[in-house]
Subunit: 362 residues, 2 copies
């Protein structure tokens, strides 16, 4: 069996150690004679899994004690509804402010407008979201119940290098494509949320880190299983949760701890991204599509100066075990998603391939 | 490795053939060099999986062409909110009628009352839900947008043997703990839904079979990812779905087809349940807790005449590889959940154990 280097944006590759462990115990979890996916979410064995996931995540992400960890249904996109349902009533004006840095921020804003007034206070849509707007030049409506940002923009390859100071207004960040890939000061945020399928585990679940005082504002029409307070009170087990995803996340957290934690991971991620960006910047054959100052270290978006070579590039990459490099249709070109699980060797293989392709076609 | 006979109510045991196949290809799906959980929900390989699941489910369940299959986030309980959000506005009176046959029906009714008027038109709560109310003696409010029933009651071990005729008013059935275990005439229903974690796959997802004309009534406050029309229009891929669960369901559907389909499965399930019920009825040492006329063939609820022996019974069962026989706290006693994946050998082992326990303690 040859494993490819999988540059897919998500569901993304997971660490091989995690995958091998999950495979080895897939039929028989801890000598129970049953799989972890075949046991009750209320069993003592699953209880141990979810408690361990909490404990490891708390330690690795340095989560303050006045925050709750929730494992919520529906991935990140379901939170585009859940967040306004839970928080937009913090101020009775029912306003929420959005900074539009890509498709997901736009969708979140649109969804919030079902439940109140969505204020799009800035946007980089004028140049296809290839930069992050300057926050300090903005005026924030003081009646905003929250400010919503997308910290890393998977499609466009941009990220917030530092986070805006929104004062008393809670800052909410969709960190789906970068959570646990860089050090974050959680206390800067009211809520952080992330779908699992990039850096945390398989698809179908999201993790929400919420400051406790924000659990009190749910609108009466909030569906029971979108109410964050229900999750907080029942340890995310008000109904049968996605036990496989939580189990896989527990393994990913262990792997992260065994590999030096978030700090070490961030160093590695910066080195991985630098390798690719440096190569792109060293040649006219390729170019990066995001503004250098706002480049993501998770999603490297680039294109070929001769775009007619792109299909050929992507095809040859695949025959070289470099999988899923096609960019999102919103940007075109190529994209290397290099989440935590992508080893440096994968980035080296990519750069070697890019060099070889340039030599043949340049 | 010894696999136990797992009588847990769910997440429940899955067919060993399915588990072994999933394990074997866990690191390398179809020679892609990546796991099925590591590939895009928009890849051609995943597209093939979801199309195959649709096709097999359609054939096995004999789904008429005017119904849509949806794979929806949040399990069955999320549908307690999604159904009224999508359907209660079918009649502007915004009423929905519920027949209370257990905890899940009660919860569904309560949740619907957020969005309209929930009419509890009958209940077996007067004797701890150990029977199914007689539908023919009821009067149905003609303004009801739908009638909601729970076809099999996991906690209480009862089921609807036949389904009520609700005329023009759509009948909606929560079939979580029995879907695909017995022949059903889908055309009797407006919606059938089921969480996967009993007979269909792992936890965290539900399947919804909906008559197309019911896709048109969603309330404006319906969250985007609870709107059934969005799922129908985007083949359940408006966002990243729980790809692992859909993949596992595809394997379960293949297994079902390879084992004679629903008809054959129903025969086996009836024989399995009969074996246990016949034994219980043959002795005074044990007794069934559900009324014989309404007994489930999926969840066999029983108790010991001398209830002080129960803990001992459950403990000894576990040392005999008969796992998770404890009844739900709402009923007490014991419960054998014998879904499709439970082989006859498991039921025989249980009855042998029960006989032995009676001989020693009777």
């Amino acid at each position: 069996m040859t494993r490819v280097f999988n540059f897919g944006a998500g569901p993304a590759m997971l660490p091989i150690d995690v995958m091998e462990k999950a495979q080895a115990e897939f039929l028989d979890y801890k000598n129970m004679g049953a799989s972890v996916i075949e046991i009750s979410h209320r069993s003592k064995e699953f209880d141990e899994i979810i408690n361990r996931t909490d404990a490891m995540l708390s330690e690795l992400a340095n989560i303050p004690s006045n925050y709750k960890i929730l494992y919520v249904h529906g991935g990140a996109q379901m939170q585009f509804s859940a967040i306004p349902l839970n928080i937009i009533n913090r101020n009775p004006a029912r306003k929420a402010s959005f900074i539009l840095t890509g498709t997901w921020a736009v969708k979140a804003s649109k969804e919030a407008s079902r439940y109140g007034i969505a204020l799009d206070i800035a946007s980089s849509g004028d140049s296809n979201f290839n930069y992050i707007p300057d926050f300090d030049s903005l005026t924030l409506d003081p009646e905003s119940s929250y400010v919503h940002i997308v910290s890393n923009n998977t499609l466009y390859g941009t990220r917030w290098n530092s986070f805006p100071n929104t004062g008393e207004i809670p800052l909410i960040a969709d960190m789906t494509s970068e959570f646990m890939s860089r050090k974050i000061d959680i206390s800067q945020f009211g809520i952080i949320f992330a779908g699992l399928q990039k850096n945390l585990g398989p698809a179908g679940l999201a993790v929400v880190i919420i400051r406790e005082d924000l659990l009190e504002y749910a609108l009466p029409e909030t569906p029971g299983l979108l109410n964050y307070k229900t999750y907080a009170e029942q340890h995310s087990l008000a109904n049968t949760n996605n036990t496989f995803a939580i189990y896989m996340m527990s393994l990913v957290m262990e792997w992260l701890a065994d590999n030096g934690g978030v700090e070490k991971m961030e160093e590695k991620n910066e080195a991985k991204a630098k390798l690719i960006y440096d190569y792109i910047d060293s040649t006219d054959f390729y170019f990066g599509t995001a503004k250098p100052a706002h480049r993501s270290i998770m999603n490297v978006t680039f294109n070929l100066a001769s775009e007619d070579l792109l299909d050929n590039f992507l095809e040859q990459a695949e025959t070289n075990s470099l999988y899923a490099l096609k960019g999102h249709r919103a940007v075109g070109g190529a994209r290397a998603s290099i989440y935590n699980a992508m080893p440096m060797a994968g980035c080296e293989a990519l750069v070697n391939f890019m060099q070889g392709f340039e030599e043949k076609n340049g």
